[in-house]
């Protein structure tokens, strides 16, 4: 077969691929294909290719996917490995934290204060909004059905106990997971990608002491304060709703005081401290585990938030059981 290419005035990469395919097809079928009168500039381009390269074997197919049982086992092994690594990491963080707290001069207080300001002061608006709305929604959702039984006064009990013992610590921690934990992961992940963590290591500086411990201390100091604030704001939100149900604020306040004990309040604060530790350590861990480019930083941020929220919920459940057993 002879192909007269004299009319070809334009030929791009796709055009060359077409011509190559012609030559290859001819060769495959045992006939000779010649392309004539192709413009010199296109011929030079075509001349760089050997149509026989189209005979190259296709890449070997990807290994067959494991069956569901094997896949589950592999995922379980991976989870086990991850948990083991996290356990070692948390142990190192705790030891480093205790070591530095016994020697306050070693703590990078400037870093602690900077982080505390960023997460605490700058986090007030979002915590205020969420806590207030939480109180409002809780009050409305419970007051409407309770009114049927003339028991709307007991909404104050529900709001007081729920907020101070459970919801304020939980929601504050979840907000911080999304805001602060993600920020830690992104910041440290970016440092990892930019080789700043390697620079710390080769300067014989421990990234845990330098980066993680200040963030953990700041978070554990600020979170209880934010939790108390969130509780108060939530109670105010609930109180304003109760006004619409003709419950005066004084009555609302006295009802709360009568049912909420110091144990509820302290229990809520204790949980907030533990949640703060979880958010900060997991956020920093995901940052340190970042490998790759900008996409990996995004993945680390997502993992930090998800991991923190899962841990918060799990530990909240454990606390519920523990407090019940201890009759707190």
């Amino acid at each position: 077969m002879r192909v007269d290419a004299s009319g070809v005035t334009y030929c791009d990469g796709s055009g060359i691929a077409f011509l190559l395919d012609l030559l290859h097809e001819g060769s495959r079928q045992g006939s000779q294909v010649t392309i004539t009168n192709l413009a010199p500039r296109f011929a030079e381009l075509l001349g760089q290719f050997d149509h026989a390269c189209l005979d190259d074997a296709l890449p070997a197919p990807a290994a067959a996917r494991l069956g569901p049982v094997a896949e589950f086992g592999r995922a379980l092994l991976q989870l086990g490995g991850d948990l083991k690594y996290q356990g070692i990491y948390v142990r190192r963080v705790v030891l480093c934290l205790l070591y530095e707290l016994r020697r306050p001069s070693l703590v990078r207080w400037k870093e602690v204060l900077g982080v505390a300001q960023q997460m605490g002061v700058n986090g007030l608006p979002v915590v205020t909004l969420i806590a207030f709305l939480m109180g409002v929604v809780l009050a409305y959702q419970s007051a409407v059905p309770m009114r049927q039984f003339g028991a709307e006064i007991f909404v104050a009990n529900l709001i007081g106990l729920s907020l101070l013992r459970e919801l304020a610590p939980l929601m504050t921690a979840i907000v911080l997971a999304g805001r602060t934990g993600a920020a830690f992961a992104a910041e440290i992940g970016t440092m990892e990608v930019n080789e700043e963590i390697d620079a710390l290591i080769t300067m014989a500086l421990d990234p845990l002491r330098f980066l993680v411990v200040p963030r953990v201390i700041a978070t554990m100091l600020v979170t209880p304060l934010l939790t108390i604030y969130a509780g108060m704001v939530g109670l105010i939100g609930g109180g304003l709703v109760m006004l619409t149900f003709d419950i005066p604020l004084v009555t609302y306040y006295k009802q709360i005081i009568s049912v909420v004990s110091i144990g509820d309040f302290v229990g809520g604060l204790f949980k907030s401290v533990v949640f703060a530790f979880l958010v900060a350590t997991v956020g920093c861990l995901r940052g340190l585990q970042t490998q790759g480019g900008p996409r990996a930083v995004g993945q680390a941020t997502t993992r930090a938030v998800v991991s923190a929220i899962v841990l918060i919920v799990v530990f909240d459940g454990l606390f519920a059981v523990a407090f019940n057993l201890l009759r707190i």
Partner: protein
């Protein structure tokens, strides 16, 4: 035991990585020495293992086998405090500088001094400013790294690497991303620092002009043999080495593409 004139000794080093559960060897059983006070370059094509070798020499990665002695102490076998002591014998300039973005240029250089010396604040400030002056950044002390150009960031990173007056400074691709003029300025800086301060420089690069400008000796890594294909002075390798690949590298001749 320290050699009389070798400050770094790499012995029977095998390095690689794990991919899909299988080990892949990058460099097999290589040995070489870096002499005290020289500028030593590690060359090779893309994927030959230059940066990986550097990371092993500075203790960021653990080799499959072999020994790396930094001024007599094996960094591979060392642990804990001993390992950190060895790391203080050298400074590292990373490819993109790796300056800490939350600190100013001066604070970056001050950091090692604050952590590892008993000097007072004034002394630390003086030493840090001197280091920045040496690299030509006396006007940029209070600028954040993001406000510096690429060349200035690398200079600042060199100043930080020299903060504790180490005997060795490792440079990972110092000319990467720089224009020819800035690259030449950086080369002159390295030569000047080596001459005046007696620092041993180990440079990972594939920039030919830099190699000829700064290196006393080079080793060339080869991806095909996973080893060292040539050792010697740059001019010697360019003019007298018989290996065709070495010749092509130094004469910038691309490999023939199959017709």
């Amino acid at each position: 035991m320290k050699s009389a004139d070798a400050i770094i000794e790499v012995e029977n080093l095998t390095v690689g990585y794990v991919r899909d559960g299988e080990e892949a060897v990058l460099l097999q059983d290589i040995s070489f020495k870096v002499l005290r006070g020289e500028v030593f370059a590690i060359l090779g094509g893309s994927g030959s293992g230059k940066s990986t070798l550097l990371k092993h020499m500075i203790g960021l990665l653990k080799p499959m086998a072999g020994r790396i002695a930094i001024d007599g102490d094996d960094i591979v076998a060392a642990r804990g405090v001993q390992r950190r002591e060895i790391m203080r014998k050298f400074g590292v300039m990373y490819q993109m500088g790796a300056l800490f973005g939350s600190m100013s240029t001066l604070e970056n250089v001050r950091l090692p001094l604050e952590e590892f010396t008993d000097f007072d604040d004034e002394a630390i400030d003086l030493i840090a400013r001197t280091k920045l002056y040496l690299v030509g950044l006396s006007d940029a002390v209070h600028r954040a790294p993001a406000e510096l150009s690429g060349g200035m960031q690398k200079r600042a990173a060199i100043a930080r690497a020299m903060a504790l007056d180490p005997a060795i400074v490792f440079l990972d691709e110092p000319s990467a991303g720089l224009d020819p003029i800035t690259s030449a300025e950086l080369d002159r800086l390295i030569v000047r620092l080596a001459r005046t301060l007696g620092i041993t420089f180990v440079v990972v690069t594939h920039e030919l002009p830099s190699i000829f400008a700064i290196a006393h000796r080079v080793i060339m890594l080869d991806q095909r043999t996973h080893g060292i294909i040539a050792t010697g002075a740059p001019a010697e390798l360019r003019d007298h080495n018989s290996d065709p690949w070495v010749h092509r590298f130094f004469n910038r001749e691309p490999e023939e593409v199959a017709p």
